[in-house]
């Protein structure tokens, strides 16, 4: 009601509405909707009203939400993309990252070949490749050095908080990719930023929405190719396992195993610890209220069992949003809590993959034996993984409780000015308890058996900011400005201890243990870190044709030991909306924009900024002279921050609302790099942080969406996204030559100017000589030799794909919708380490475990064999050669979904206003040009799921 804004309502899913309490007399009713032009209707006591809103041409699309300010995408010069919660839910419901990677070509979810579908692992994310070195030159900690920054409702959070967030609570996710869009986050932004906004209550009558998600997940073992019992035994004979000093004993061992094989024992151990699981997620959200007072209450529960027995993650969460509005002030408070309980599988999958197939799971009595083979036969303890799984108590449970409260006040003294103050509190308590039974195989031979470990983390952080936003149109000049100040403090306390010596599984209580092992102490650390920053962003556009955007940010942080507390970052972006030019007559052109940005975002994911050394007080050996302190970290006053000059050139095209195309070319120059390199221990330390050379990352990413068919009820579109990233080192000189020398024949990474971090270095191989079973190498000059020489190393491949992305199609017909999204990757080479370690290079110890079938069948056995792998009898180590570098092209069924939405009349009978059903198949197939074991520690899975959404 234009005169009395307090009187209002919202439509239901079908667009129907009721408005009550209209004052007498002539009134004006205003209809608004995001992306639509507000529409006014004169009210003169009519009973029915039919209103059709028109799309707002100037706000064709979305706004860019940076977490600090929002901008109309059309006038924004940076590279950023926003996805709505609905779009994400249409891809999958597992977690936000799984869906986001399908939609956003610049985002890579680095596949972890070891940990497969483990629900308790955090994903490794990258936006536009790496700017920092990882791997040999860094510590484990730094492996997050390429991770983007995560912002949840304006507050920086850990990746786990986003992963555990219920998909139903997500309103939008924005990926900030280039300097101009991310610069507002300054020294932490060089890896890009992911901004997540949660659903906010909307005015209207009380609305209840409920959604449930049922997911059927089952293991994918198709990449495994292990020997059966007969093959394994045959292999062992060929490899000389049963010839040795104590021939009688070895004969007995062989005969015992042979007897088992003859009896038909052939255990498929892989499936033993696995299960198919039905996981479910529920979420309820209630919201409503008047314009002045809004409320929203949500509750969600999710149970994610892993496909390995004993691994599970349960998330329970809730939130309460309250908003109070007056003319000029808006107060809002969001409170949320999360309770996460994670249990880890008791026995690693690799233990089962190693078990030999000629062992039985059960003995004659149907019991599970503790050892797979009697000690008298094997002369060693061969633990039965099934016994370890079933009969032994081995638990590892972590419970996290997180509480978060955001309080925001917005003051709008005039329409063009907004002042916002925000205060966020975050408290997380995490407790891990792990018990290992005295019968656990880890305690073989030790006197103090059984252990109990506990770790507790107590985290308290507060975060506040004050932002002033100004935006006004002066004739043809649009000006936006944002200035602000932010501060945050974080206190983390970690305590923990490990005790040993339990008598049985019955008494897991730590008070039943023998206590600490000699010299052990409880651990206790207390860390405070604080940071503050000032930022400024200005945006100017002329007739929405010429766009200019500039940001400046000054970051101060309390990195312990640092002398330079502040660092400054900047970014500038320009854009040109060609379609808005007066001379542009192409009416069919809805959007044609060219943009360019440059900036120097920083990377603070390092623990290295120590201009001054630090000493740690020493309490291990006390003496009568009192306190003592020893160097903990060497200072390096000459160390420079790692900065990246990030350039981006982008093009956006939109034709008749049917063809949308967007592409970005980027060039990131990180100079100097900061990396940890090994130094001779005679310096007093084994690794130091150092600046050297630089790294260039360049590439492109883009997406195309074409609406092929558009009828009244039908809409069919196809989409494709693509990306490519290339990196190379610059100005390294000979600083890392010793690494190259050390790595020859054992690793495939080398460090030279112009070389790429993705390159795979090895000596070229001409295959296996059919007459001798030995490998023939190719020298640098092209001649053949049997002799391996590290000097013949060349680049034999690149692990970076030539092109990767997603292709898909979607179709909407009335309430029905269906979509298929397939991931493709072409041109990447991989070093097949499973082949290298499980087909050749089988060490004496590896021979005791089950092996890849190809070790038996594809190896050279007699003259004339054209084999891929060298003779079984040659047991000297195989140096890394191009033979193990393979091209991996693949297509995988990332997401296939069918959905139906309805607000049919029959639903009203049960009180439901609208319902949606969606069926998903995620990662259902994978066609690859070469097959290798994936998921060595935790297998990959395939899943079907069904989600149901109901609105009451």
């Amino acid at each position: 009601m234009k005169s009395t804004p307090r009187i209002g309502t919202a439509t239901d899913a079908k667009g129907e509405f009721h408005l009550q309490g209209i004052p007498p007399g002539k009134q004006t009713i205003v209809f608004t909707f995001i992306g639509m032009v507000p529409f006014e209707v004169e009210y003169a006591n009519q009973r029915d009203m039919d209103v059709v809103l028109k799309e707002d041409a100037t706000e064709v699309n979305e706004v860019v939400v940076t977490g600090i300010y929002s901008r109309d995408k059309n006038s924004f010069a940076g590279s950023a993309t926003t996805y709505t919660g609905k779009e994400l839910r249409a891809i999958g419901t597992k977690n936000v990252f799984q869906s986001l990677k399908t939609l956003e070509p610049a985002l890579t979810l680095v596949e972890n070949r070891a940990f497969g579908s483990d629900p308790n692992r955090l994903p490794d994310l990258e936006i536009r490749g790496k700017t920092s070195l990882v791997g040999d030159l860094t510590t484990e900690y730094d492996n997050t050095a390429n991770q983007p920054l995560f912002i949840l409702d304006g507050i920086e959070v850990e990746i786990a908080q986003i992963q555990n967030l219920s998909m139903d609570r997500i309103a939008s996710v924005t990926v900030l990719k280039d300097a101009a869009s991310a610069a507002i986050y300054g020294s932490k932004a060089s890896n890009g930023v992911i901004v997540v906004e949660t659903v906010k209550p909307e005015p209207g009558q009380l609305r209840v929405s409920y959604s449930a998600d049922l997911r059927f997940e089952f293991p994918d073992l198709s990449d495994y190719n292990l020997m059966n019992a007969e093959e394994k035994l045959r292999y062992e004979v060929l490899a000389g396992r049963y010839v040795g000093e104590d021939q009688d004993q070895l004969d007995a061992l062989y005969n015992s195993r042979l007897a088992e094989v003859m009896r038909g024992v052939d255990t498929y151990w892989l499936s033993v610890p696995l299960r198919s699981v039905l996981n479910h997620t529920h979420s309820v959200y209630i919201d409503g209220g008047s314009e002045a007072m809004l409320y929203g209450v949500g509750l969600n529960y999710s149970d994610q069992k892993g496909i390995m027995k004993g691994s599970e993650k349960g998330v329970t969460g809730g939130n309460i949003n309250l908003v109070y509005r007056t003319d000029k002030l808006i107060f809002s408070n969001d409170f949320s809590f999360d309770y996460v309980k994670s249990e880890r599988e008791p026995v690693s999958f690799s233990t089962f993959a190693q078990a030999n197939p000629y062992y039985r799971k059960y003995n004659e009595d149907g019991e599970i034996p503790e050892f797979l083979e009697p000690y008298s036969v094997a002369q060693e303890f061969i633990y039965n993984p099934l016994y370890q799984l079933r009969k032994v108590v081995n638990t590892d449970v972590t419970k996290d409780l997180g509480l978060r409260n955001n309080f925001t006040v917005i003051w709008r003294p005039v329409t063009s000015l907004q002042v916002r103050g925000r205060l966020a509190l975050n408290k997380t308590i995490s407790e891990r308890e792990a018990f290992k039974s005295p019968a656990h195989s880890d305690f073989n031979g030790s006197t103090s058996k059984g252990s109990y470990t506990t770790e507790k983390t107590d985290l308290m952080s507060y975060n506040g900011d004050l932002t002033v936003t100004y935006g006004r149109l002066f004739g043809h000049h649009q000006i936006n400005a944002v200035g602000g100040w932010n501060f945050s403090s974080r206190t983390q306390k970690n305590t923990g201890y490990e005790i040993f010596g339990f008598t049985s599984d019955l008494h897991q209580n730590p008070s039943f243990s023998e206590g600490f092992q000699q010299g052990d102490k409880p651990s206790y650390t207390d860390r405070i870190s604080r940071s503050t920053s000032f930022y400024l962003n200005g945006n100017y556009s002329y007739r929405n044709r010429y766009l200019f955007d500039a940001s400046l940010r000054m970051d101060g942080s309390s990195v312990f030991g640092s002398e330079n507390l502040f660092t400054t970052t900047w970014a500038v972006g320009v854009g040109w909306n060609i379609h808005n030019e007066a001379w542009c007559k192409a009416k069919w052109l809805d959007l044609l924009k060219v943009r360019f940005s440059i900036g120097n975002p920083g990377n603070q994911n390092f623990d290295a900024y120590t201009a001054s050394g630090t000493y740690i007080y020493n309490s291990t050996y006390q003496n009568l002279f009192g306190t003592s302190a020893i160097l903990e970290k060497f200072g390096n006053p000459n160390l420079k921050w790692q900065k990246t000059i990030d350039k981006n050139l982008g093009l956006d095209v939109d034709i008749l609302d049917r063809v949308k195309f967007s592409v970005d070319f980027y060039h990131k120059n990180t100079d100097p790099l900061l990396a940890q390199i090994p130094v001779p221990p005679s310096l007093g330390t084994t690794r130091i942080y150092t600046n050297f050379g630089g790294q260039i990352s360049k590439g492109f990413s883009g997406s195309l969406n074409v609406v092929v068919m558009k009828r009244q009820y039908l809409r069919w579109s196809v989409n494709a996204s693509f990306s490519q990233n290339r990196s190379e080192y610059r100005n390294i000189g000979d600083k890392l030559d010793f690494m190259n020398e050390k790595g020859s024949a054992t690793t495939f990474k080398r460090y030279y100017d112009g070389a790429s971090p993705d390159d795979i270095w090895a000596v070229r191989s001409h295959g296996i000589d059919p007459s001798s079973g030995r490998e023939v190498f190719i020298r640098k000059d092209g001649s053949y030799t049997f002799k391996y020489d590290a000097n013949d190393e060349v680049v034999v491949g690149s692990s970076a794909p030539d092109l990767e992305g997603v292709i898909g199609t979607s179709i909407f017909y009335k309430g029905f919708s269906a979509s298929v999204n397939l991931r493709y990757s072409f041109g990447a080479d991989v070093f097949a380490s499973a082949l290298y370690n499980k087909v050749e290079n089988i060490s004496e110890t590896a021979l005791y475990y089950n092996l890849d079938r190809r070790a038996l069948h594809d190896r050279w056995q007699e003259p004339g064999n054209r084999a891929r792998f060298k003779a079984i009898s040659i047991d000297d180590t195989t140096p890394m050669s191009s033979r193990f570098v393979l091209r991996e092209n693949y297509i995988s069924g990332e997401s296939i979904t069918i959905g139906y939405e309805t607000s049919a009349r029959w639903l009203h009978v049960v009180g439901v206003k609208g319902a949606s059903f969606r069926f998903y198949m995620n990662d259902i197939f994978r066609l690859a040009s070469f097959k290798e074991e994936r998921g060595t520690d935790y297998p990959f899975s395939k899943s079907f799921s069904l989600s149901i959404g109901l609105r009451f």
């Binding site: 000032f534 507390l565 000493y615 020893i630 130094v679």
Partner: protein, 485 residues
Amino acid sequence: MKMTKLYFLMALALLSGGCKGWLTIDSSDRIMENALFENEEGFFTALNGIYAELPQASLYGKSLAAVTFDVQAQYFDTTQPSTHAFNTLGAYSAEARKTAVADTWDKAYFVIANVNKILEHCESERDVLSDRAYHVIRGEMLGMRALLHFEVLRIFGPIFAEAPARVSIPYRTSSELTVTPLLPANEVAEKIDGDFTDALSELAEWDPVRTEGRLNDETTGSVRYRSRHLRLNYFAVKALQARLAIYTGDRKLAGRLAGEVIDEAGAFFPFASREDVTGQTAVGVATQNSEDRIFSSEALFSAVNSKRTSDIHDKFFSNKLEQTNLLTMGELAVHNLYDSESDLRTYQWQTLKNTEGVDQRFFVKYGQVQDMDLGYASMVPVVRMAEMYLIAAECEDSKATAYEWLNALRSARKATSLPATGTLANDLTEEYIREFVGEGQLFWYYKRLRKTSIRKIYNNNGGYLEFDPANYLFALPEKEQEHHK
């Protein structure tokens, strides 16, 4: 717009000044380097940090004192059972020798880097130090730098008699993180000697040990300049310089220095008496629980290990250990070790019930001493007076005088005097064997003399082991080597 930005920047500059205090954070367990060296107290905290590092297993907790090189000197029986934890080291397997010394390299150079830091701050923050603190800290740290380099050189360096100029180890005199080249062994020895000499000149005037001795009586107030036998004092440095001299073959210098130490320090570091060794001095009556089995009064410098019993005794020598982990020698071998029943060094052995309830001889030098207040309960000797007598004897040209030195030591040990008609070299070797059980010195005695046949001390039936001199040499750790190609 431009002006607004300018104002904003000015406001930023102002605010950031105020934020500096908020961003500076204290830590309960750590301190920044420049804050530590702000006052004299901090210097002594850092100094004590060096001494508190010495009892680590890779230094005097295991490697450089009780275990690693005494196993290689064939003191202990590691042949039985065949699964003995030190079986491979006792048999000089390449892998075992490599792992046995790898940590020592890292740790020694880590402590050296810390020493260099202190020495550098002594100059840059000279004004916060009193003259005495400056000279004593500098003296002790120069001595420490030399001692640790010397320990590393003995392991990784060549046999001086054979190849004195062979490339050996780097000599670190700065904490800067740049690679230092490997130097020929004789150059390293010169540098070590130079540091010892500088240390002596720093300490000569300022170390109270020269006038007041050990200063180990209980006292209230500052202990900074007390308990000199637990600090690298003037006499300890001189004794170590003598050890270096004889190791590199400079017998004349070694003899002179050893003689000086005996002359000057004899009164302050007297030989242990029977009463000391039996524990009578400590508690009034002779008691096994208070035996001073390390002869603490004559230790010129010791590392302080407050967990000596659990770190050393319980791990390697205790009667509660299974035979696979136990270091000891045969019953008869212990008996044969000493040529006099009355030898005080026999107190370093006890007959106790082993884990199977059978009587066995155990090495109890580092065993529990009941009253932990007794200073020697936590001491691990690094250099003792006895070595000075042995060096003096070895460097003496006159055989008669040489036997006088040797018999002086033997009489202090309550062992019968040896006739001057014997073979001095053999008698010295036997005395080295008796004197340094569990102190890691014998192996280096063998190395400098390039012995190719060494005694199987542990063996009840005696006998000798043919020794390949290559086993005196240890390859540099790979992580070090790869940077020196």
